[in-house]
């Protein structure tokens, strides 16, 4: 079983001069290697919740644990260096080159020059920027999307266990945002980082998160997988929030494995095969374009693990719709 990376124990936050709690009594465990999105409207407490983890904000009461240790007992700067931090405005240092921005923390950690240079190159390649072209540039010579890529690379410089991301793609155009989202998923799968990602965008939250935390008025409304939330919204608020998404959007969130019917491994059927992570949206498109009424679901090494029929897809979709209407 995965270790608990971050644990919130009855955490509350009240800002000075306000009577309301920004975050009220949050309990949550985040396992290592999971991608958690925190979804909410502005004022829901989602950003406050995130920023209490690296102590940009201090919790008024309650405890936050980092791999079982109270974060208040850890040395602040050393603790923060183990946590990658990405914010919407990026906050690159304008007077430093891309290379210097990414290398700042490794330099403080006294890595030797060659190690830093190699690390910078590797990170730039990871975020799809050519080191040769970008290393020596200054932030103002980059587009918004490129700046956020550098921000992401900088946050990962010292190989942190956990990444905190506060609406990192909020100020980026739709097409670039989609690319960045896909790359972030790829990076997370590859490096298995624990990611906490704040967003107000429902489809972004559902697309990226293994699990989604829905925040409203400082409390967690639901903490579940996208499928769990769509099929069983915990309350009226969650139901209304996801109802704003149309049926096609919802199909994009649902994955093949969540609706497939289990089958025996020895299927010799020549039907079309999809991965367990394939979205129902793509499967629907396949059904509409081809004269087929089922597809097989394959799980990498384990072979065929399930099948989805046209009827099954219709039933699941309708169930989802009824439940969240």
């Amino acid at each position: 079983m995965a270790r608990t990376a971050i644990e919130f124990r009855n955490v509350s936050k009240q800002y000075a001069n306000t009577s309301q709690y920004a975050v009220a009594g949050v309990n949550m465990r985040i396992s290592e290697g999971s991608f958690i999105t925190i979804l909410g409207t502005s004022g829901s407490g989602k950003t406050t919740l995130l920023k209490m983890v690296n102590r940009i904000y201090e919790a008024t009461s309650g405890e936050i644990l980092y791999f079982g240790e109270h974060i208040k007992n850890l040395k602040l700067e050393e603790y923060r260096r183990k946590i990658g931090y990405v914010i919407q405005q990026v906050g690159l240092f304008p007077h430093m080159t891309v290379e210097e921005n990414i290398g700042a923390i490794p330099q403080i950690l006294r890595w030797d020059t060659d190690t830093i240079a190699n690390r910078v190159n590797a990170l730039l390649e990871l975020v799809c920027l050519s080191p040769r072209d970008f290393k020596k540039r200054y932030p103002r010579q980059l587009s918004g999307g490129q700046q956020q890529r550098v921000g992401l690379a900088r946050a990962m410089a010292a190989d942190p266990d956990i990444m905190l991301m506060d609406e990192p793609f909020g100020a980026i155009d739709a097409i670039t945002r989609q690319n960045l989202q896909e790359e972030l998923i790829r990076i997370q799968r590859k490096l298995n980082k624990t990611i906490l990602f704040v967003t107000h965008d429902v489809s972004e939250a559902f697309k990226l998160g293994d699990k989604v935390v829905i925040m409203h008025e400082g409390t967690i409304q639901q903490f579940d997988t996208p499928y769990g939330i769509i099929s069983k919204p915990a309350n009226e608020y969650v139901a209304r929030l996801i109802a704003t998404q149309d049926i096609v959007q919802r199909l994009k969130v649902l994955k093949a494995q969540s609706v497939m019917l289990p089958v025996d491994a020895q299927v010799s059927d020549r039907a079309f095969r999809v991965g367990t992570e394939e979205s129902l949206h793509n499967i629907l498109t396949y059904f509409l374009e081809h004269d087929q009424n089922h597809v097989l679901v394959e799980d990498g090494g384990r072979g065929v693990v399930g099948k989805i029929t046209w009827e099954q897809l219709k039933v699941s979709t309708r169930q989802g719709k009824i439940l969240s209407a």
Binding site: Y85, V90, G91
Partner: protein, 215 residues
């Protein structure tokens, strides 16, 4: 006019050096006071507004009045002159120091602390270079205005190029007035020019426009 120069160039040189001494010393003292004060109050909106409006009021007192006001405390001579010049400079220097640090984008500060940079590193490597252009702008304006106001210090026997001007006025002797004017203007012009070149460098660096050896 040229004959005056040839005849009295040694005296003029002494007055010029005296003037430079007044300006440099008062700028040095002003900076030593203003930068720490500016840093301290930059964090608090309330405090910085209060202190800046106080210095603003002081700045609006005419220089001759301030010189005579401080005479009882420091007596005739350079001490009083330097005290007055330092007081005037506080307004410009403190204001620009405060503005310099407050103008840094909050997201840069948040990202810096959030990624685990120490306060010392943040100050020396991030905040200071980014605030420097505005601080240098303050130093330039303060220096030029100090060169100007320092001429008036001649009235309280502090020496400097003001001596030429006031003697010339009293004796109604044009070459003296002209040389006093030319020298002090030239000094102000040169100071402005030199400091502006530093400022431009600092701006380029803060914006990430130069390819200097920053590694």
């Amino acid at each position: 006019m040229i004959t005056y120069l040839v005849k009295y160039y040694d005296q003029m040189l002494i007055l010029l050096l005296e003037h430079l001494y007044l300006v440099c010393l008062s700028m040095l003292i002003s900076l030593l006071l203003a930068v720490p004060v500016g840093l301290l109050i930059a964090r608090s909106k309330w405090l910085s507004t209060a202190i800046l409006s106080f210095f603003g009021v002081v700045y609006s007192i005419p220089s001759l009045a301030l010189f005579s006001f401080l005479l009882p405390a420091f007596g005739l001579g350079k001490m009083t002159a330097i005290a007055v010049l330092v007081i005037y400079n506080q307004y410009i220097l403190v204001r620009n120091t405060v503005t310099g640090f407050q103008s840094i984008d909050a997201s840069i500060i948040e990202a810096g602390y959030g990624m685990g940079l120490s306060a010392r590193y943040m100050f020396l490597k991030i905040q200071l270079p980014l605030a420097l252009p505005i601080i240098l702008g303050g130093i330039r304006i303060a220096t030029v205005s100090t060169i100007g106001i320092a001429t008036i210090a001649a009235v309280i026997h502090a020496g400097g190029l003001g001596v030429l001007l006031f003697d010339g006025l009293r004796m109604n002797y044009l070459p003296k007035i002209l040389w006093g004017t030319i020298l002090s203007s030239l000094l102000a012009y040169l100071a402005n020019h030199i400091l502006l070149s530093f400022e431009t460098k600092a701006i380029e660096r803060a914006r990430g426009e130069c390819r200097g050896d920053t590694a």
